[in-house]
């Protein structure tokens, strides 16, 4: 089923890609866009519903002011102008997950428009993505198809509907066509969405969890021969649900469209689906089947006219831009680009910052979160902030290491203890007897025992091969269950055999 593709390099040699991204962000307001129902994720199906979000005959929407506030803050953070006057519109189409068979959205009057987002690429270059608009809309319900082989609608015996998500507020952010990225288009796409994620998290307006569908992305891709002004025909890959997939989908579409064009064909305007397991896109629906949404202003709601004073008040609440903040922290901490990227990729920026604030050296904080604790989170299948160890506890562990009370190896056992609920790091050290032994008498006895057990190694050291001391240190460590002060042990060995 795979379509022919051109190698990435060949594709880029012949064609310039243009991309466009539509990102849907689910807001984390306590209640829904048009009613008072809870937006909590994961509740029993259809328990968070009422006549309004079920679209029962006669029911009417009432807009959630908090959602408007979040939309404005988001628009401001995206360097957008905020509309002085705008309206909600109805987007009419039929689908069983749409309670009213129209979505209350915004059409020609978005709340925010004409903005940009600066995206930092891996080589440190900053790429500016222009934003056309950010508008408010409501989410649909969730359909589960059962009884078929594929979990898809086609072939299913029946479908279940859960309207808990119906009416949850969404913001859709639409870019202008992004050109000039060249071969880096896939990276720009990925970094753009990641930067949106960072921004939304910094704003606190969304949980931005791709796995829970609170951040979703559609990617438009078109190609044109280098030097041509007009854009080529585009395809739209829908509902991409991981950062890696965004990069993959854009790269794949570039290669696929290049093969079509190279072959003398024309790219068909259509939607496409991203097939994660194959790393490919597949045909969705063609332009001919495209729906006419018959937009018109929502007559059940009054226009939204945020006062300029309010907008300025909200502007004053904006947090530091994530990219700026990252650059500031990197400079403060003296991290290399690679180290900083590791921290960001591990989603550990906030945790490292909190650990540093709690008194730990930055490098130590980075090391714990991106190695030991990242591994544990990964094994448990949770996010870093759910791993069960707090920044303050990490700082306390590092303080014990710096004081020479424990070493890195013992620190891992301290984390075991903390996670097992044995108390704070110091308590775990005391309870488990984990402190490093640096008492000369005890270490001397252990060294003597090791020399006696390894006469050949002892002879090598006596013969001047000092590096062989490592084997004896290892034996002592084993004897003392890792709790020996390694430097002291080495000192004693060389003293005895020197």
């Amino acid at each position: 089923m795979s379509e022919p593709i051109l190698s990435y390099d060949d594709a880029l040699e012949a064609y310039e890609p243009a991309i466009g991204l539509e990102v849907h962000v689910e807001l984390n307001t306590a209640s829904k866009m048009f009613c008072g129902c809870s937006t909590a994720f994961g509740a029993a199906p259809n328990t968070h519903t009422c006549p309004v979000c079920l679209g029962l005959p006669g029911s009417m929407p009432a807009i959630n002011a908090k959602a408007v506030e979040s939309a404005i803050r988001m628009g401001l953070a995206l360097n957008c102008s905020i509309a002085e006057w705008c309206r909600m519109s109805r987007k009419n189409y039929f689908y069983p997950d749409m309670p009213k068979d129209y979505q209350t959205s915004q059409y020609d009057e978005p709340i925010a428009y004409d903005g940009y987002l600066d995206v930092e690429l891996s080589d440190g270059e900053v790429f500016r993505v222009e934003i056309e608009r950010a508008h408010m809309e409501e989410d649909a319900g969730k359909l589960t198809h059962l009884g078929g082989d594929t979990g898809r609608l086609h072939g299913a015996d029946y479908s279940l509907l859960d309207y808990n998500r119906a009416g949850v507020p969404l913001i859709e952010i639409v870019t202008r066509p992004i050109t000039g990225a060249g071969a880096r288009a896939p990276e720009v796409a990925r970094r753009y969405v990641e930067t949106i994620r960072d921004l939304m998290r910094a704003l606190g307006v969304s949980d931005v969890r791709m796995n829970e569908g609170s951040l979703r992305c559609d990617a438009n891709v078109s190609l044109r021969p280098w030097g041509r002004q007009t854009l080529g025909t585009r395809t739209e890959t829908k509902n991409i649900n991981s950062f890696r997939s965004i990069e993959g989908a854009v790269a794949y579409e570039i290669q696929r469209q290049a093969a079509v064009l190279q072959d003398g064909g024309t790219v068909e305007q259509c939607t496409r689906n991203w097939l994660e397991h194959l790393g490919e896109t597949s045909f969705g629906r063609s332009k001919e089947e495209a729906e006419d949404y018959r937009y018109f202003p929502e007559p059940d709601l009054v226009p939204i006219a945020p006062s300029r004073e309010w907008v300025e008040e909200l502007r004053a609440t904006l947090p530091e831009h994530p990219t700026k903040r990252r650059n500031r922290l990197q400079a403060d901490w003296g991290f290399s680009d690679l180290e900083m990227r590791d921290v960001v990729n591990a989603d550990a920026l906030d945790l490292v910052e909190a650990t540093v604030t709690a008194g730990a050296p930055a490098q130590a904080a980075r090391k714990w979160w991106t190695t030991e604790l990242a591994r544990r989170a990964n094994e448990a299948g949770v996010t870093l902030d759910e791993v069960g160890v707090s920044p303050a506890q990490v700082a306390a562990v590092q303080a014990l290491v710096d004081a020479g009370t424990i070493n890195d190896k013992l620190a891992r056992q301290v984390y075991d203890g903390v996670l097992a609920g044995e108390g704070e790091p110091a308590e775990v050290v005391a309870a488990r007897g984990l402190a490093v032994v640096s008492d000369d008498g005890a270490l001397g006895a252990a060294v003597d025992k090791a020399i006696a057990a390894n006469p050949d190694v002892a002879d090598k050291i006596r013969g001047g091969r000092v590096q062989a001391a490592g084997a004896l240190i290892g034996a002592v460590m084993k004897e003392m269950r890792g709790q020996a002060d390694a430097a002291k042990v080495r000192e004693i060995i060389l003293e005895r055999l020197g």
């Binding site: 006549p51 029962l56 029911s59 929407p61 039929f94 015996d157 018959r294 059940d300």
Partner: protein, 509 residues
């Protein structure tokens, strides 16, 4: 009071008698239920009667009065509710097969306010399907007959509510008005009907026809009864964002005063002439003279864009309706046909809608879908919205010269059942005088001012500026007082006596 007095008494008098302990609400309610059982077989004003619920509400009011509690001015009085407003647990059909048997899990705000005021809801009244029509012949459950002449229509879409009043089945009723659905039936039945200022009453729980035009309003046999009911249902509702957060105009005081001295009354030049029945025009002129005689100042005003109002209305209404009615897709409630596992979602939807929607509803959905479709939206929906603005400007200019505007409510008196069913355009022309008000969102009412030589009622239409609903009642009360004196009683005293029949309306619950 004996039974015949109980059914002809005004709501105001009934409430006073109930509050004063002269008669119980249960007794009044029982009498009306008996009346419905006796005459509704020929009138068919009701789609369902909630005997148990009505008697329970009446008993509750009686208990409150017995306990010495202060109750509202209409407490204990029965009412007929147009079946387009949600009443929790009670079948609500909007006159359509697609909602047959649906029982809302919630009350419309209007319904809630009626119950809170101690008003007794007898049942749900018949209407044109989804309130689309001017005759109540489009109801999926059969037409309602006009009590003045059972071979004629009671008007639409609120024909059931108006007929219930004229047949003395209920002293109060609620209607909804999108293009005249309260006022036109009031004119055809010799009753009073008011469409409040848009936003004056909550639409929450009213099954939407065209959201920007719809408005629930009070219907009564007297001006004061109507004003009292207006006051019960009006006022801000946070569940309806188009609802006005402003004080309710002093409608009751205006109905009690009924003084038009010095009031500037504007006769709309464009609402008359060709197409208007001579008897209707003559009655209108006589009524204007009467108001002049009472001290009102009469001016002629011109509203040049009213001639396009009907066309604009018949683009805006179907556009909004096509969207509002989309939810009736057989997926969640109501009629569902063909769901035997062999058909797709779309096929089940199509089969259910084919059977569940009547011809007029389909016609308007198709019109609206077309008017909003890509490539046509600007030409149709867009132009209609521009006309709407021009109509609003006409009103603004006219209200600068006059305190209220007047016209006949309808170009003709009630027509015969079946006479216009095959001619939608002729049917649509009925709403010529009432539609501009809905486009502009101002208030208007219809008051009975006489009979044709055939003995059919004629209505007088009064339009007031936004949130000046009280002016309608001033004019209405002045007319009512003068005409009652002149006639030696109410116009409804002349309605033919309905003989009890064996056929009865089905009682639900």
């Amino acid at each position: 009071m004996d039974a015949s007095t109980l059914i002809t008494a005004s709501a105001t008098d009934l409430a006073a008698a109930i509050a004063g302990g002269e008669v119980s609400s249960v007794e009044v309610t029982r009498t009306h239920l008996d009346r419905i059982a006796a005459v509704d077989g020929v009138v068919h004003a009701f789609l369902s009667v909630d005997e148990e619920g009505a008697l329970a509400q009446a008993a509750a009011v009686d208990a409150r009065i017995a306990a010495g509690e202060q109750v509202g001015p209409l407490a204990g009085v029965p009412l007929a509710l147009k079946d387009v407003l949600a009443q929790k647990g009670i079948p609500t059909t909007a006159g359509s097969k697609i909602l047959e048997g649906w029982r809302p899990p919630y009350h419309a705000t209007v319904t809630q306010r009626l119950l809170d005021a101690g008003i007794v809801i007898l049942g749900k009244t018949n209407l044109d399907e989804f309130a689309m029509g001017s005759s109540t012949e489009n109801s999926a459950y059969g037409p309602t007959n006009n009590p003045w002449d059972l071979t004629r229509v009671p008007g639409g879409s609120g024909g059931g509510s108006a007929a219930a009043l004229a047949a003395f089945e209920a002293p109060l009723a609620i209607g909804t008005d999108t293009g005249g659905s309260i006022r036109q039936p009031a004119a055809f039945t010799g009753t009073v009907g008011v469409k409040p200022t848009y936003g004056g009453t909550s639409r929450y729980g009213q099954i939407a026809l065209a959201s920007s035009l719809d408005q629930p309003g009070p219907c009564g046999r007297t001006v004061l009864d109507t004003a009292l009911l207006h006051e019960v249902i009006a006022g801000h509702d946070p569940k309806d964002q188009t609802s006005l957060d402003a004080p309710v105009p002093p409608v009751v005081a205006a109905a009690r005063a009924g003084d038009v001295k010095g009031l500037r009354i504007g006769v709309v030049k464009e609402l008359g002439g060709e197409g208007y029945a001579p008897e209707v025009e003559a009655n209108f002129r006589a009524t204007v003279d009467l108001l002049s005689g009472l001290g009102a100042e009469i001016v002629e005003v011109s509203c040049p864009h009213f001639e396009y109002a009907l066309a604009a209305y018949y683009l805006i209404l179907p556009s909004e309706a096509s969207s509002n009615l989309a939810r009736f897709d057989a997926m969640r409630y109501g009629l569902r046909l063909g769901d035997d596992g062999t058909r797709s979602t779309e096929q089940v939807m199509a089969l259910s809608r084919e059977a569940g929607f009547g011809a007029e509803v389909k016609r308007r959905i198709i019109l609206g879908t077309y008017a909003l479709s890509a490539g046509y939206r600007d030409a149709f929906y867009g132009s209609a919205q521009k006309v709407r603005t021009l109509v609003q400007q006409d009103f603004t200019a006219a209200f600068a010269r006059a305190d209220v505007l007047v016209s006949p409510t309808t170009p003709t008196a009630a027509f015969r059942l079946g006479e216009r069913v095959d001619d939608p355009m002729a049917m649509y022309l009925n709403d010529l005088c009432t539609i501009p008000t809905n486009l502009a969102g101002n208030a208007a009412g219809s008051f009975p001012t006489g009979l044709t030589t055939d003995g059919l009622p004629i209505g007088f239409h009064v339009m007031a500026p936004h949130q000046a609903d009280d002016r309608l009642y001033r004019v209405g009360a002045a007319l009512e007082r003068t005409l009652t004196d002149r006639w030696g009683g109410s116009l409804l005293d002349r309605v033919p006596v309905l003989a009890p029949t064996a056929t009865t309306t089905e009682v639900t619950r």
